[in-house]
Symmetry: none
Subunit: 265 residues, 2 copies
């Protein structure tokens, strides 16, 4: 389809705000980053974050492949870790072709889009993770997400290009704007605010630190999987900031007996 005036289009990047943040984790090819940027802008998504993209950045191949979505690429932020890239987000989905040994909500793109639209209307910051070409997201990154999104491809040929995957989710997000059907758990009222990824990771690290001290994670080879499993449990709960404070209070109470000492001395 036609693209007569790319330069004129560059000015119009901020067409729609409040869309989910697109996080590309270790993208290997500049062309895919550029095509993903174009696909995002095709459907009004504007915020891209990159975790350790391969090669130099800015990347000429990305800019060429973006067909004019230059400003979006210029504003893309770089991060060293996925955890840092998502620290301010309150809802996080992760794309995956394979449903691994993780217990998590799984959505198709259309349902994901409805969920994200509804969350956006509540003022929640949402994001979606895309893994590196070929290998997909590492389990540690999947463990950060509250939801997995999987595209219903042909089972005999399921590998979908990175930028194509971004496109489909952007497309569904845009269409979902037409008439949002809220789904999923709502925590209305009571001033409950979804916890940020930063709050969650701080809680996990606190818990894991105490578990380490208690000897619970002492078998080194089981430790990474154990930690992922524990994080998955709490990610699925889509915790509020108040709930994270409660859980931290529980860890302190159990581990340090703070309240008991105060209460009984």
């Amino acid at each position: 389809m036609a693209d007569p005036e790319p330069s004129k289009r560059e000015a119009d990047i901020r067409t729609e705000s409040g869309g989910p943040v697109v996080v590309l984790v270790e993208p290997q090819l500049g062309e895919n980053i550029g095509m993903a940027a174009r696909a995002m802008l095709n459907f009004g998504l504007t915020e891209m974050r990159l975790v350790k993209p391969r090669g130099a950045w800015p990347n000429a191949k990305a800019i060429n492949a973006s067909s004019g979505a230059h400003a979006l690429l210029h504003e893309a932020k770089l991060y060293d870790t996925t955890a840092e890239a998502v620290a301010d987000l309150q809802r996080l989905a992760a794309t995956t072709a394979r449903l691994r040994d993780m217990i998590k909500d799984v959505q198709q793109p259309r349902d994901w889009a409805a969920t994200v639209r509804a969350a956006g209307e509540e003022g929640e910051r949402c994001g979606i993770l895309f893994g590196p070409e070929r290998v997909g997201l590492h389990n540690d990154d999947l463990a950060l997400a509250d939801t997995l999104v999987t595209v219903p491809t042909n089972p005999a040929f399921s590998s979908i290009n990175l930028a194509q995957s971004v496109l489909l989710l952007g497309y569904e997000w845009r269409l979902a704007g037409g008439g949002t059907t809220p789904t999923q758990i709502r925590r209305k009222g009571w001033g409950a605010v979804p916890a940020t990824q930063g709050d969650l990771v701080a809680f996990y690290e606190h818990l894991e630190d105490e578990l380490g001290k208690a000897g619970f994670l002492r078998v080194a080879e089981k430790r990474p999987r154990m930690i992922r499993n524990i994080r998955n449990i709490f990610n699925r709960a889509k915790l509020t900031d108040q709930e994270v404070r409660t859980l931290r209070g529980i860890v302190v109470a159990l581990a340090e007996k703070k309240w008991r000492d105060e209460g009984e001395s």
Copy 2:
């Protein structure tokens, strides 16, 4: 997303028949032809026709970009004119970004997919035309179609890549088949069994007992609500029996230092 065994996949090309024929009119870049082939096969479309592709055919760039959809490319038929390419089809749609001065039915991809599925059930042969990169379909080609299909892009940045456009229509066609709908929470494999209410309540009582001992629930009037809030957190996570055991282990570790005592004594 992963693509571990492209060669094995080549054998499985004829996964679904009766899908619309994809006709690329004067495609300029081999990469786009290859990516379109991949996108088609991702959603079970298998019949590609090419009208005067630029450069030699077969095209090495197309084959490389197809990520294993080689057989689809090998079987693609070449034509000199669009009219010849669509001669045997009974329904023909044409993609366009601009609605020109033509009186024709216009559909979005989702409606087009429903129409094509219905026509396919009647035994009608359907096809869809995609124009050359940048310029789009010539008016003479649009005139061959009974319907125009337009993707609802961001008006400020509407130019969509050729292969991306093929992808979206293939995706909608596949979803319109009602085929894949499994969604929602999956607890795949590994023998994970949802915890019973009995398991959960036993865990809650264990946790609450330890919290009581630690003085965390010492304010009597807050206690019932606190307990409800804590139970809600874990109920939302829809725990498996294994996860309940893990959480009980955590409570024991933190509260009783069982592992630490064992490990260090």
